[in-house]
Amino acid sequence: METELALNLVDTFAVGMLLLSMLSMATSRMGQLIRYFSLQSLLLAAMAAVSAQATGNTHIYILAAVTLAIKVVIIPRFLRYTMAKINVEREVDTLVGIPGSLLLSAALIMAAYFVTEPLMGSFETLTRNCLALSLSVVFVGLLMMCTRRKAVTEAVGLLMMENGLFLGVMSVSYGMPLLVELGIFLDVLMAVVIIGIFAYRINRTFNSVDTGFLRRLKE
């Protein structure tokens, strides 16, 4: 695959990931949120596959496959299962309101560009332009964690931060040593499972997954 086309594809996928982050901030339905997350992970896997194809690095194929298996299939299924078990309402509770959170995300995206602009020249990978996009996805995920009140939504925000991080790793270095990457995936999976367990516990203790109730510990 010629490098020009590969570069374009990779950039487009990365922008698609950011797009999906923005759409996740704009949505008010939880099922749609999980679908956007799984679509974002799909784009990530596709981007990894294109990178692998264009550079010949075979271990990136493995990473793409693992991303596909874990983040596109297993984790969204698990989140939906948790939601069903908790029997939570399908609305996303926001602290800031959707247009406000979208404008905040736009501001964060610009901040991310300012931070990473001086750095982008120092890499020689196919995907160096994506560093700014990856930090943007991380920041938007962080915003989602801070402004959404339901437990499962906070978990999705964390997962999107991890997606952005993986995009960043792909953009600066073609992936870290395989063992480390696999360990990271395992950690993410375990974290999601544990978050699901605790969301269930919160629901059982407080009869709601609105984290606004988690206010007893002060001072």
Partner: protein
């Protein structure tokens, strides 16, 4: 040639398994204590080996003076926790709060937690270190939420969320370091190995290292308890069972500090002084926040948690200054703080179980009814606020001296004032608990298992404060060299 790292970690893992699966419930606690003792022995043997022969480097391990200092501290705290848990859980069993299954689950989690923390301090790859730190968050989340009531669940949730965010940001920093290193060294898997990184550190791009260090310090600092990312700490450390709180304060925070130190060593070779400045900034913020909250809080374990934040702040200041004396003092503080904090948590645990409340305004008259615990608590309090002849005083004094001799008079003055504020807060809360008349009938929760570790910890704290044997000094100096950039 005994494979010491494998022995140490393996013993911890095996103990976890044994506790989970032991057939007779009376054997669980002794097995746990025995296992911890083996782990401590292996850690000490490792320290001696490294002291005489130099760093251990094979397979996935890289163990130098810094690693052994931290591992021995963790192993010692684990042993103390195992011993104390016997008495603590025994009380809870008698009260009916706990079942056998709960006890197995507790010990299995505690020992796997210890194993993962030991792994953090001994692996050579920074990536593996990161994975192990994330694993500590995941395992300890269950320990924090152990009691499953509203407050514990809230604390565990905040803990998971905030630390996961922090760890993710730290991964961003790790990724940038890797990118810079693999650009210089080629993308072989050696680029995340700490010794390899140190060798190539001066060639790394400074701008990149600055951004990476900001992420790493904020990320790992969240786990370490630096303000303003410390908000999970008081909740988690107060809602967890008391022995677990001791482990969290005295061992886990050290692991996060270890990670920051490894990163700092690499960054200082490329951008000298930048990460030091960051650490000092966060250190002072932590100190100030802790001082404020210690005065207003009412829960005894929250006060101790804020004291951990304070000491992490002082250590950050010490490491941030970057002079050999300040680093020596900060490393000494690591050991001193762990011993003293564990002692304090144990005595607080005794008080809480006897009085049935964590509210310090409701606990009175400990001196009359619980002489042993109150003497332990009084000594622990004096130790932790930095009174001689205890060891924390030595550490803080060295850091203060280093600040003055480096010409940082303002920082030294601020440090002194804030430590004094903490002293006032502690004394204000603790001594009324010991004096006065108790409102209800309380008894000293007895048992050798509780008393022995407390006495041992007090002994360590006193001993280190009074004497500095040569081996100790050499050990601390070799650790300091590792921090300051020697391999």
């Amino acid at each position: 040639m005994i494979p010491l790292p494998e022995l140490m970690i393996g013993a911890s893992a095996v103990t976890a398994a044994v506790c989970a699966l032991a057939p007779r419930e009376r054997t669980i606690s002794p097995a746990s204590i025995a296992g911890s003792a083996v782990v401590l022995a292996a850690a000490l043997a490792m320290a001696v080996a490294v002291g005489t022969d130099g760093p251990i480097r094979y397979g996935p391990w890289y163990i130098d003076g810094l690693s052994t200092l931290f591992s021995v501290t963790i192993a010692a705290v684990s042993l103390a926790v195992s011993m104390y848990s016997r008495g603590y859980l025994g009380f809870e069993r008698r009260e009916g709060i706990l079942t056998t299954r709960g006890e197995r689950y507790y010990y299995a989690a505690v020992h796997s937690f210890a194993a993962v923390m030991l792994l953090t301090c001994t692996v050579s790859s920074l990536g593996m270190m990161w994975i192990m730190i994330e694993a500590t968050t995941l395992i300890s989340a269950f320990l924090v939420g152990y009691y499953r009531n509203e407050q514990a669940t809230e604390a565990a949730w905040k803990y998971i969320m905030i630390c996961s965010v922090g760890i993710t940001l730290a991964l961003m920093g790790l990724m940038l370091v890797y990118a810079s290193a693999s650009g210089v060294l080629g993308s072989e898997s050696g680029a995340l190995d700490w010794p390899v990184l140190m060798a190539a550190a001066s060639m790394l791009d400074p701008e990149l290292m600055k951004v990476a260090m900001v992420f790493a310090v904020i990320g790992f600092g969240t786990k370490m308890g630096l303000a303003p990312m410390h908000t999970w700490l008081p909740d988690a450390h107060s809602q967890a069972p008391t022995p677990v709180s001791a482990m969290l304060s005295a061992a886990l925070l050290n692991c996060a500090l270890y990670a920051i130190l490894r990163f700092m060593a690499v960054s200082d070779a490329s951008v000298p002084g930048f990460s030091g400045g960051l650490l000092m900034m966060f250190g002072f913020a932590s100190l100030a926040a802790a001082a404020a909250f210690i005065i207003i809080t009412r829960d005894i374990k929250r006060m101790l948690a804020y004291s951990s934040v304070e000491h992490m702040g002082i250590m950050a200041i010490g490491f941030g200054m970057g002079t050999p004396e300040s680093v020596f003092g900060a490393l000494f503080l690591v050991v001193a703080h762990s011993a003293t904090k564990a002692l304090l948590f144990f005595s607080a645990g005794n008080a809480i179980q006897a009085f049935g409340t964590r509210d310090m305004d409701c606990i009175r008259g400990m001196g009359k009814r619980m002489p042993f615990t109150s003497s332990m608590m009084a000594s622990g309090t004096l130790a932790i606020v930095g009174m001689p002849p205890f060891s924390v005083f030595v550490g803080e004094a060295v850091v203060l001296y280093a600040a003055v001799s480096a010409g940082l008079y303002l920082q030294a003055a601020l440090l002194a004032v804030l430590v004094l504020t903490v002293f006032a807060g502690f004394v204000m809360h603790v001594f009324p608990m010991i004096s006065g008349e108790p409102e209800k009938e309380v008894r000293e929760p007895g048992g050798m298992a509780r008393a022995a570790p407390m006495v041992m910890l007090l002994g360590v704290s006193l001993f280190l404060g009074l004497f500095m044997p040569d081996q100790m000094r050499d050990w601390l100096e070799s650790a300091a060299t590792a921090v300051l950039g020697g391999v």
